[in-house]
């Protein structure tokens, strides 16, 4: 949503005013905690909940000068951004109907230091609803819902292959929200051990940038098991005019310190772009060549974590992603990218074709570009009851590029949290992690009302 500066300011003022008004009940509702207050207020406090988080943060990042983004002229990644986000969450639980809405206001100022926009800056803003939900409890064990959700599951950190709807599992940067998609769901809980869900993904919602082609509706049947020894799920998915898949995940708590888990999928027909040699000016183009394949492609991720006596947890994961590019395909992919990048400076139709090709190479529809990955992570929360720290190394085992991510947060008092997310990418231009950003550093404050 684009607006003029004056409109933007008006929206901002109205939003802050509304936030202020909505926050008024907070001290009244808190009376519920000590059991005081009128019965009406206590009743309201039991059914209505309002949470507001305000995030103010800056991002410093260095775009890679790569064939995907030569001279930063294609992606036009800003060097600095200053951001403010208002994230209110409103929930009304009136048995048997639950309502939830998460409107968002994002204000951003961006400055470019590289590429065609070098030395310039501009404002951007976005006012949207990232998630909303209406859920009806038809019976004690039967729930029917529709809404815009960030529907995630599975134990993995690296990515969640069992989830057919979202490419991003939100683990890379927990301060950036994953855009919601529209789902209808029926959840049946026959007993404490089993759950059966029918899920219909009816619209891409706000998650409109992660697919290389038009959105296709998808339907999934999900069966969950929760036992004393462990847990497990099977997810059978059909996507209209696209792939079918059987996803799965499971885990065991081997001891009070050791967890093991597995997550994966068998995918028939891959709805992604592959470099295909042809007689086009670049010698190849990105085509959806495996969309109609009848053979199933396996994706498997195995992981384990160990919690030390002092509280830190070490996690290791290995993933094999069959749909990813093999060596020859990767060589063809990077050659195509280099040719397309070179064509950008030629001008004319060839330049347009170069742009189109780079648009395909950046958004192939694959969750990961190559086939073999490892992740190592050390996480420790509540250090001195105020610091959370996560260090994560992700290694591409095919092109040997890597990514270091450090997540840290420090709690001041009851409301304020200082947070930082640092990412350092290692690898040459023709590698997965080396092609976009050399590094990125996000630092900010979160105030929770």
């Amino acid at each position: 949503m684009r607006m003029t500066l004056s409109k933007r300011l008006h929206v901002f003022i109205i939003f802050v005013f509304l936030a202020g008004v909505l926050l008024q009940p907070a001290p009244v509702l808190s009376a519920e905690d000590d059991g005081s207050g009128s019965p009406e207020i206590r009743k309201l406090a039991e059914v209505f909940r309002f949470d507001l988080r305000i995030l103010s943060y800056g991002v410093l990042q260095q775009p890679s000068d790569s064939s995907q983004n030569p001279g930063n002229n294609f992606l036009e990644i800003p060097r600095y951004t200053g951001n403010m986000e208002f994230r209110p969450d409103l929930t009304l639980k009136t048995d048997p109907l639950d309502l939830m809405v998460k409107p968002r206001l994002h204000l951003e100022y961006r400055v470019w230091e590289e590429g065609s926009r070098e030395g310039t800056g501009d404002w951007d803003n976005d006012l949207y609803v990232n998630e909303w939900l209406a859920r009806w409890r038809a019976r004690e064990n039967l729930f029917v819902s529709y809404g815009r959700e960030n529907l995630q599951w599975g134990p993995s950190f690296l990515f969640s292959p069992s989830n057919p709807f979202f490419l991003d599992n939100g683990r890379r940067n927990p301060y950036v929200e994953v855009p919601g998609m529209d789902f209808g769901r029926v959840i049946w809980i026959p007993d404490s051990t089993w759950t059966v869900s029918f899920i219909a993904n009816t619209d891409e919602g706000r998650n409109d940038i992660n697919l290389p082609g038009p959105f296709e509706r998808a339907y999934a049947l999900k069966m969950d098991y929760q036992g004393r020894e462990g847990y497990g799920s099977l997810i059978l998915t059909h996507r209209e005019n696209a792939e079918n898949s059987l996803g799965f995940f499971g885990g065991l708590t081997l001891s009070d310190a050791v967890l093991v888990y597995v997550e994966g999928a068998m995918i028939r027909g891959v709805y992604a772009l592959y470099p295909q040699a042809d007689h086009s000016p670049f010698g190849a183009s990105m085509e959806r060549i495996h969309a109609d394949d009848s053979s199933a492609q396996p994706v498997i991720l195995v992981g384990s974590s160990y919690t030390f006596a002092e509280g830190g947890t070490f996690t290791g994961e290995y993933a094999h992603y069959s749909p990813g590019y093999g060596g020859a395909e990767a060589d063809r992919y990077y050659a195509l990218r280099r040719n397309a990048a070179a064509a950008l400076s030629y001008g004319g139709p060839i330049s347009g074709l170069g742009e189109l090709t780079l648009g395909h190479t950046i958004n192939t529809g694959l969750r990961l570009l190559r086939r073999n990955y490892a992740l190592l992570q050390y996480n420790r929360n509540n250090i001195n009851d105020c610091i959370d720290l996560t260090c994560r190394w992700t290694q591409n085992l095919d092109d040997w590029s890597g990514q270091l991510t450090v997540l840290g947060s420090y709690i001041f008092g009851d409301h304020i949290q200082l947070f930082t997310v640092g990412t350092l990418n290692e690898g040459s231009d023709d590698t997965e992690f080396g092609g976009f950003l050399d590094y990125q550093c996000m630092i900010g404050l979160q105030y929770t009302f």
């Binding site: 905690d33 949470d51 988080r53 994230r87 969450d89 939830m100 998630e131 004690e140 064990n141 729930f143 959700e149 960030n150 995630q152 599951w153 134990p155 969640s160 599992n169 939100g170 683990r171 927990p174 301060y175 929200e177 959840i187 809980i189 007993d191 404490s192 759950t195 869900s197 999900k222 969950d224 929760q226 036992g227 004393r228 462990g230 847990y231 885990g251 708590t253 081997l254 001891s255 009070d256 310190a257 050791v258 967890l259 888990y261 974590s305 919690t307 509280g311 947890t313 929360n381 509540n382 001195n384 009851d385 105020c386 709690i411 008092g413 009851d414 409301h415 304020i416 929770t448 009302f449």
Partner: protein, 254 residues
């Protein structure tokens, strides 16, 4: 295989020995076996059918004070803890499905599987806020009698029945008169005591139509740093049936 059989045999033997000793326990509940006594003590710190409570946790660790308010709903081996205060942690949830634990918080896309060993706050581990199931998780190795604050107690020496229990060994003092746990010492696998806890029972609930003392306070003290103390106050205790949907992972984050 042989190792597993030997472990089972050892556990069975320990139980049989403990039950044999139980025949000599002297009290108003002399007819109860040691396992039944342990189960009664568990009842005062949870309930198989379902219980809901508020826990106010205050911890002092290395001089730093922290507090948390939680709403806990528990049934049998499952429990769901929702953080109510302070604002920084409001909305966080800890779901415990037996020994499988998941942590969710606002802004986090999906629940994270965590281990029971992970620290909750101060000296309290995740397993400490759940409904207590010592009778299911531990074998009674030895029973004797002792005194706690002038009150006659059974002293149970408990050993984890498998490696999924939160603690390897617990010394547990249970009031002979009231059948509630008054004190516990928690030990690591290496045999080192790492924390102690004392319990108070000023809450009252009706179980099977009869009034029963129910836990009101648990004070955990670090064995290594004596000034590190975590106090858990239990309030608004309600015994009621908790539906399966409360403990369902599909409904956890919304």
């Amino acid at each position: 295989m042989i190792k597993r059989f030997a472990k089972r045999f050892r556990n069975t033997l320990l139980c049989a020995m403990a039950m044999g000793m139980g025949l000599h326990l002297s009290c108003a509940y002399a007819s109860l076996s040691p396992t039944e006594i342990l189960r009664k003590a568990d009842e005062a710190r949870g309930n198989a059918e379902g219980v809901e409570w508020r826990i106010d946790i205050r911890s002092v660790e290395r001089g730093r004070e922290q507090h948390r308010t939680l709403r806990v709903r528990a049934r049998s081996f499952n429990s769901l803890a929702e953080f109510l205060a302070p604002p920084n942690v409001k909305g966080q949830k800890l779901l415990m499905l037996d020994r499988n634990m998941w942590f969710a918080k606002p802004g986090l896309s999906k629940p994270v599987p965590i281990s029971p060993r992970q620290k909750l706050i101060g000296g309290a581990a995740n397993g400490d806020i759940a409904s207590t199931n010592y009778a299911g998780d531990y074998n009674i190795v030895k029973t004797s009698e002792d005194m706690v604050n002038g009150e006659k107690c059974y002293l149970f020496d408990l050993k984890a029945s498998d490696n999924r229990a939160t603690y390897d060994r617990i010394l547990y003092w249970i009031s002979i008169e009231r059948l509630v746990g008054l004190k516990a010492e928690f030990y690591t696998v290496s045999g080192k005591m790492f924390k102690t806890a004392v319990f108070e029972y000023k809450n009252s609930v009706k179980i099977g139509g009869k009034p029963r003392e129910f836990i009101s306070r648990m004070v955990i003290t670090s064995a290594l740093i004596k000034n590190d103390v975590t106090t858990m106050n239990y309030g608004r205790v309600v015994i009621r049936k908790i539906p399966d949907s409360v403990f369902n992972l599909n409904l956890l984050t919304r």
